[in-house]
């Protein structure tokens, strides 16, 4: 009996114990690959990479009026090597091996590789912390654009104009060995359409394709584009030359690789001769409410909420949005910074915001378009610096409500050293500071803006070289 009992205890105990233990679901540890964060606006990768890859939007074929170069800045203490792989519309060209000395900058002219059209470029650097930008020239000025560390399946262009003498091209680069198949959606105000010729649009592997948007969508005062790849990733940039009554200038800029819930703009202005519009594109299938926050000389203005309908673009006039009871604008004249945030708590669906800023100086109209930054950072890089002494070359905004300081440093052979007078610049919460790069040692060198305690957003007003014009560009956050 005892033996039977013992056996039964073991049998029943074993069954019950097993069921009891096994019914608790153990989460199975899955190997996890680093989820590639949703591609974002360009940044300077500084984490531990074996090779860092940069996708440059494209350089126009060299001519007397156009051309461009890739500028690689190595602010680190060690020499770096890598290769540049150019693509044309007929495929990839032989990669060129490169080597950049420590704390130095080297331009590479690749525009001569093509007779017409554009050359896309992939730069691979066997190190991290290196900045790669492209600088393009046209008859109407110079444009700078950072090269993107990410390719993306989606690209958004919120702002755009066709007709009236403006030219609008898209430069689509596919640096991957697989063809990319892209669908394009045009949004003109409240009208959305998908031109047949831009559906299943193939960008062959390792090649560049140029799309003349102005030929497909004529005379559109506002035109947003959504590019979605059915297969593969690619890089998209726009080449826009404005020649309208209200806009004039040249922009060669990356699109936004993703929508976001926050968009930061450091530079903005209101006043005579200044026109500022923000094109807010809602690429999602739901309407989105966006809070617009403006910080001007008087401080942070009460946020204004506006609704962006699904798959539509709303052009926001800041001065018009912020009005008092009497209808007068509450935004003071002068400069201001702008933040746009999706109002819905926990929202993941975002918007794309692009600013067009037109200034008139001595009857010269200069328009620059900038896609905002999706995040703030304590460190920002201006690898190209400024080619000449430039007052107000950098626009620094404190995106927090806390006061603090930041420094502006020039990167030279001795490393990053603060520029005299800019060692510890005080900055109130939400305030904006314009940095003059005019002193010796601050010109034609990479600049880095650092703060130990402030989230900053920094824009650049890069001299276009024509009639004192400036072209805006976001710097590279770390």
């Amino acid at each position: 009996m005892i033996r039977r009992l013992l056996v039964m205890i073991l049998v029943l105990g074993g069954i019950a114990g097993t069921i009891d233990i096994a019914r608790v679901n153990r989460s199975v540890a899955q190997p996890e690959f680093t989820r590639l964060a949703s591609p974002s606006t360009p940044y300077l990768p500084t984490r531990d990479l074996i090779t860092a890859t940069y996708y440059c939007p494209g350089l126009p074929a060299a001519s007397t009026t156009a051309g461009g170069e890739i500028v690689i800045t190595n602010p680190t203490d060690v020499p770096v090597t890598g290769q540049i792989e150019p693509y044309t519309d007929s495929g990839a060209l032989i990669p060129q091996l490169i080597s950049i000395a420590p704390r130095s900058q080297q331009p590479f002219n690749l525009d001569a590789l093509v007779q017409t059209g554009y050359v896309g470029v992939t730069v691979e650097i066997a190190h991290t912390g290196v900045a790669v930008e492209q600088r393009t020239h046209s008859a109407v000025g110079t444009s700078i654009a950072p090269c993107s560390p990410d390719a993306s399946q989606n690209w958004y262009f919120a702002d755009g104009v066709t007709g009236d003498g403006s030219a609008y091209d898209l430069v689509l680069t596919n640096p991957f060995p697989d063809d990319a198949v892209v669908d394009m959606t045009f949004i003109a105000g409240t009208v959305q359409r998908q031109p047949t010729q831009f559906q299943d649009f193939v960008i062959p592997a390792k090649s560049v394709r140029v799309v003349a948007i102005d030929a497909a969508a004529r005379n559109e005062p506002t035109l947003s584009l959504i590019l979605h790849s059915r297969r593969g990733r690619f890089v998209a940039a726009k080449v826009q030359s404005f020649s309208t009554k209200v806009r004039n200038g040249y922009a060669f800029a990356l699109g936004a690789p993703s929508a976001a819930v926050d968009w930061y703009f450091a530079d903005g202005g209101k006043g005579t001769g200044t026109t500022e519009t923000y094109s807010v594109l809602n690429p999602t299938d739901t309407d989105v409410e966006v809070d617009i926050t403006v910080t001007d000389a008087t401080g942070v203005l009460p946020a204004v909420r506006t609704t962006i309908p699904s798959n539509q673009t709303v052009v926001v006039d800041i001065a018009g949005q912020f009005k008092n009871a009497s209808g007068a604008s509450t935004v003071s004249d002068g400069t201001h910074s702008v933040t746009m945030s999706v109002a819905t708590l926990g929202a993941t669906a975002g918007v794309v915001v692009e600013r067009a800023l037109t200034t008139t100086v001595s009857k010269n109209i200069s328009t620059t378009t900038v896609i905002g930054s999706q995040f703030s950072s304590q460190t920002w890089w201006a690898p190209l610096g400024v080619p000449v002494a430039t007052p107000g070359a950098l626009v620094v905004t404190n995106s927090s409500g806390q006061a603090g300081t930041f420094s502006v440093n020039a990167v030279g052979p001795g490393g990053a050293n603060p520029i005299t007078g800019l060692e510890a610049v005080p900055l109130a919460g939400g305030a904006t500071f314009y940095v003059d790069l005019t002193v010796d040692g601050a010109v034609s060198v990479p600049i880095v803006i650092k703060s130990t305690n402030l989230p900053l957003v920094v824009e650049q007003r890069y001299p276009t070289g024509t009639k004192g014009g400036r072209t805006g560009a976001l710097l590279l956050p770390e």
């Binding site: 049998v11 690959f33 091996l97 697989d178």
Partner: protein
């Protein structure tokens, strides 16, 4: 006749004297030689039979083996008997041979077993007939011990295969229908009378035959020498014929078959022998196949084993033939003429079956009357047919490539790969190839290169082998019904069918082997079989049979060999066997059973060590890996995460209504509850085994254990056995303990058991209708769509992702990422073994690490020097995932990481798989361009990833070890993307080119001149020696298991007896006065008519001097031959 004889005497110069002419006929001295070993109560009848013999000149000699305790019993009945204690137990024949040395002089020997009781006139009648017919050997009619009216043997007919046919019907009643004296080929050694001189001339019994077949060998030699063999039915003896009962350790069929074949091989004429052996092989195969369905599988297997292992005994056979050669005085065809035409085996088939049924009926009270044996046969036939039906599409159309069911290599290629010492798995290495590669190569030859047939066989056959293993194991329960239930339950367990659905060869092998393993553990432990249990009180917990040390060792080696065969395909199986032995021992101790099960544990551990040795050098590589996980979890199916119910229900793959299989556990709970005595013990063993291993499988599957265990399928094999054993015990309990008892709580439990088994049958029955057991889809078919190596050069494919979906055993690298690397072309069986870790794996790990951490988009460059052209990510294998679980858990971010790489191109994308091509790849053997050649000097992550990997031109396509590869090379650097090994040699234009390291792990040859080149792998001598040693070890193991004994052992035993001085001289005990005055006066002997061939008679009764013996014998032999001719 007399004239011819006189002429012969004249020619030969022999001087023969016929004493019969000179003196009155004396009753020839007869010595009854009884070999005794631990006799039971029946021995009194034996002694009484001898004591009451009416023959006047009878001496008795008892050769008492073992402890000699029978001596006193003998002397109490036969005080004048000669009793000789023989140490040890050398078997009947070798012991009886002691008469050759202990007894001198002329006369007759009557050899007897110690379970033969003579009628009072038996000796007299035998002597009369021997004398009358001038026979060499005579034997009596044998009847059943307990029922003397039933005939046992009346002489034995023998066919040319040595098969014996007694020509009696089972249970045939003696109605004097066989009472005519007749020539037969053989008489049983249970009681046979032989002339002393003939016995000496023949050299006695074959000392290599301990039991079973000694009589055939002796009689066949007698025929060769021209002597007659007669059966004298008027002389009658009772015979117990219970050798298997008294000596369960020596086996019932194997020794008989082995000895029979040995006798055939030594006695048959040289011209006929080759043909005869081929016929025997075919007959054995046929018998084995038929035996599957008729319950005579063991006989068939025994015959098959005997014929297959015959070449091993070639030296012994040749030696024996030399010994027998002087006896060949009668042409071979004359001897054949005395044999039965055709096959005695086939002609006696029906009689054997009935006899077996009758015997078992008599032996086993639980065997039901009527036709249960036939019912068992029908049952087995039906279930085997169901298995065949369920596998019909596999048999007729072949099974798609699923899981481990990949195509097999050509035998020659497999053996070449195995013997070369170069392991082609993964990135190649100098480590030993898995033993299974060699085994499959040999098996391929065994099926004449029909590897597709072999593949089908290896899928279907394990199921049937498992069935019959359980049938054999279930013999521990002396109930036909219980045995049938165990058979049904084991067949109903869905494990083998879901294993096919999931493509798990290792699980099938474990399922097939596990019952045999447990049966061997039982036999090693001495746990009695049904025949023994049936004779004891049903209340005992266990019956332990005595197992000799040698037999125990033999069984342990058998256990090791079975384990080794399965371990070749599932390395962890050997450890499971040890665990099974431990669980059996614990269960036995808990149930109060025999402690001898602890011997089983020791045997299992010993077997583990033997397995390790048998698999050297491969097994050493498993140790060197130093990773428990590599050994335990290296196979497919690891980390299946099937869930509690699926694992418990044996649901490795798709199975309709699979959860119903849980009902099969009903006996596990109920059997220990209702069992008593040995039923409780076996119920405990079955239940604890089922619960323990199912629990381990469930807990490990869910990751609830702090350590990893073999995959669930392997653990479930002993659980399935446990369930079947518990079901058998429950059935026996219902028959013995519940039936007939007052109604109580036990009766309803019987219904529960019945319903449980019935419900549990359904899933497997349903699966049988599918035709492939639901294994319908291929997971690696896309490999056939990848380009052949001949197009761009040899390449490798990297499988990446969920280890459950990878088609080859995977390495797990940092972060839990699993991958496997296979060579180009379709997957083969060799790819089913975990490849040794090499420097190439380090690079793969680094590349995967780069991708995982998004530290580079050039992982393709890192993989390029590894020859990795394709990266395949299985998403869904339509086996596990199709069963309703969420298997296709791609590592989060994996596909993103792949598409973010600049060198990977998507070349295939289905719902099953994503296939990427690495555009930066270099062929495995390639002549490098300047860029690649320069970079081949470098090693390390940053150096390889930072810049272009260059390009290479394929060379030496399909270069493998064991076969020199040739090509024409240009000067430059030849990359050979395999692990660096000094055994690879490149010769260009006749000049050896030294190699250097490349990329930190591979080989490169810098050639300054071009020309015809040869790349060859030179197998190290030590490798050849190791393989030779391994081969010898396997052969020795098989020989030992086959029961072939080293000859020296017999010599030692025979010599020990032979050295004893004679104790009896027949010439001195002839007592004519007794003949004249005793019972024989005026009796039959007085009226005997002496044949004309007097020399034979003279030689028989009056032993002449040794120096004249040869001449006498020569003359006698010629005369016998002539006489036989006359008779014919």
């Amino acid at each position: 006749m007399q004239k011819e004889y006189d002429e012969f005497v004249t020619k030969s110069g022999a001087s023969l004297v016929c004493p019969m002419d000179e003196s009155p006929i004396a009753a020839p001295p007869v010595v009854a030689v009884v070999v005794t070993h631990g006799p039971g109560p029946w021995f009194d009848d034996v002694l009484a039979g001898l004591a009451r013999q009416d023959y006047p000149n009878l001496e008795t000699m008892f050769l008492v083996t073992g402890d000699g305790v029978a001596s006193e019993r003998i002397r109490s009945v036969l005080p004048l008997a000669h009793v000789r204690v023989v140490p040890g137990n050398h078997g009947f024949g070798p012991t009886a041979n002691a008469a050759l040395h202990l007894i001198e002089g002329s006369g007759l020997f009557c050899f007897m077993h110690d379970d033969v009781a003579l009628d009072s006139s038996t000796i007299t009648l035998l002597v009369e007939e021997l004398y009358r017919s001038n026979a060499g050997i005579v034997g009596p009619k044998l009847v059943e011990w307990d029922n003397p009216l039933v005939l046992q043997h009346v002489g034995l007919g023998v066919d040319r295969f040595g098969e014996v046919d007694s020509a009696l019907d089972p249970g045939e009643v003696d109605q004097e229908q066989h009472d005519a004296v007749q020539d037969v080929f053989c008489v049983p050694s249970a009681c046979l009378m032989v002339r002393a001189d003939l016995f000496r001339e023949l050299g006695g019994f074959n000392k290599a035959i301990e039991y079973q077949g000694d009589d055939l060998d002796l009689c066949w030699r007698a025929h060769l020498s021209g002597a007659r063999v007669l059966v004298v039915p008027t002389a009658r003896v009772r015979h117990r014929e219970a050798l298997t009962e008294r000596r369960p350790d020596i086996g019932q069929f194997a020794p008989a078959a082995r000895n029979r074949l040995f006798t055939v091989a030594t006695m048959t004429g040289a011209l006929r022998l080759p043909t005869l052996l081929v016929e025997t092989l075919l007959l054995s195969l046929f018998e084995t196949i038929i035996g599957l369905f008729t319950g005579r599988l063991r006989q068939g297997l025994a015959s098959l084993r005997a014929i297959v292992t015959l070449p091993i005994r070639l030296p012994a056979i040749l030696s024996r033939r030399r010994e027998v050669k002087p006896l060949r005085l009668v042409p071979d065809n004359e001897v054949v003429g005395l044999q039965i035409r055709g096959s005695a085996r086939l002609s006696s088939f029906r009689r054997h079956r009935q006899r077996a049924a009758a015997n078992k009926q008599n032996n086993n009270p639980l065997r039901r009357r009527g036709s249960l044996i036939r019912t068992g046969t029908v049952l087995r036939t039906v279930i085997v047919l169901l298995a065949v039906l369920g596998s019909r599409s596999i048999i007729t159309k072949g099974l798609p490539v699923v899981g481990q069911f990949v195509p097999l290599q050509a035998p020659r290629a497999a053996l070449r790969a195995y013997l070369s010492g170069w392991n082609i798995q993964g990135f190649g290495s100098s480590s030993a190839s898995p033993s299974a590669v060699g085994m499959l190569g040999l098996a391929g030859f065994a099926v004449f290169g029909k590897v597709a047939f072999l593949r089908t066989l290896l899928i279907v056959l394990p199921i049937i082998v498992g069935y019959f293993g359980m049938w054999r194991l279930a013999d521990v329960v002396p109930s036909s019904r219980a045995r049938a239930v165990a058979f049904i339950v084991y067949a109903a367990v869905p494990l083998p069918y879901t294993a096919i659905a999931a493509g798990r060869w290792n699980v099938l092998a474990a399922y097939a082997a596990m019952p045999w393993v447990i049966d061997l553990l039982r036999r090693i432990s001495g746990l009695a079989a049904s025949a023994d249990l049936a004779r004891v009180d049903n209340s005992v917990a266990d019956v332990v049979a005595r197992v000799s040390g040698l037999e125990r060792v033999r069984l342990t080696v058998a256990l090791a060999i079975i384990t080794a065969i399965v371990t070749a395909f599932a390395p962890s199986f050997a450890l499971i066997v040890v665990a099974v032995a431990v669980v059996l021992a614990i269960a036995t101790l808990c149930a109060g059973g025999a402690r001898s099960t602890l011997v089983g544990v020791a045997a299992a551990i010993s077997a583990l060590l033997i397995v390790f040795v048998l698999h050297l050098p491969w097994s050493a590589t498993l140790l060197r890996s130093g990773s428990w996980t590599d050994v335990i979890r290296s196979g497919l199916g690891a980390d299946a995460h099937l869930g509690l119910t699926r694992v418990a229900a044996f649901g490795l793959g798709r199975n309709t209504l699979g959860l119903l299989a849980l009902a099969l556990y009903a006996p596990v709970v109920i059997a220990p509850l209702i069992g008593r005595g040995w039923r409780l013990t076996w119920a405990s063993r079955g239940a604890l085994m089922a619960v323990t291993f199912a629990a381990l499988a469930v807990l490990d599957d869910g990751g609830h254990l702090p350590f990893r265990l073999p995959e669930a399928g392997l653990l479930l094999a002993p659980a399935a056995c446990g369930i079947a054993l518990a079901a058998a015990a429950a059935t026996a309990s219902l028959e013995l303990d519940v039936r007939g008892a007052r109604f109580g709580w036990r009766q309803p439990l019987g219904i529960v058991v019945t319903l449980g088994v019935a419900a549990g049958l359904l899933p497997s029955l349903i699966a049988a209708f599918n035709g492939t057991w639901f294994a319908e889809r291929s997971t690696t078919g896309y490999l056939r769509q990848l380009p052949a190596a001949s197009v761009d050069g040899d390449y490798r494919t990297l499988f990446l992702g969920d280890p459950r979906l990878l088609p080859a055993p995977s390495h797990r690298t940092v972060g839990g990422i699993s991958y496997a690397v296979v060579n180009d072309g379709p997957m083969v069986a060799a790819d089913q073994f975990l490849a040794p870790t090499t420097g190439g794996d380090t690079l793969v790990s680094e590349a995967l690490g780069l991708m995982r951490d998004a530290r580079s988009q050039r992982a393709g460059r890192l993989l390029a020097p590894l020859g990795i052209r394709y990266v395949v990510i299985p998403v869904n294998d339509h086996t596990d995932s199709a069963a309703g679980t969420t298997v296709s858990q791609l590592a989060p971010g994996l596909l993103d990481a792949m598409t973010a790489q600049l060198d990977f191109r998507v070349v295939g994308s289905t719902d099953e798989v994503r296939v990427f091509e690495n555009r930066a790849w270099l062929p495995v053997t390639a002549t490098l361009d300047a860029t690649a050649a320069g970079r081949s000097d470098q090693a390390g992550l940053a150096a390889l990833v930072g810049e272009s990997s260059g390009t290479g031109t394929a060379a030496f396509i399909d270069a493998t070890a064991g076969k020199p590869a040739t090509a024409t090379l240009t000067s430059g650097t030849l990359l050979f993307s395999t692990s660096d090994s000094p055994n690879w040699h490149l010769t260009v234009a006749g000049v050896d080119v030294p190699h250097r390291g490349a990329y930190g792990w591979a080989m490169a040859f810098d050639t300054t001149t071009g020309g015809p080149a040869t790349l060859v792998y030179r197998t190290p001598s030590i490798r050849r020696l190791l393989i030779l040693g391994q081969f010898i070890l396997w052969i020795l193991g098989l020989v030992f298991v086959a029961g072939l004994r080293p000859r020296f052992r017999h010599r030692r035993g025979g010599r020990g007896i032979a050295e004893t001085a004679p104790v009896l001289n027949l010439d001195e005990i002839v007592e004519p006065s007794r003949f004249e005055t005793g019972a024989f006066a005026g009796g039959s002997l007085a009226s005997m008519s002496i044949d004309d061939d007097l020399p034979l008679g003279a030689d028989l009764f009056f032993d002449d001097a040794d120096d004249g013996a040869d001449a006498d014998n020569a003359g006698a032999d010629v005369t016998r031959s002539q006489r036989r001719e006359e008779r014919r």
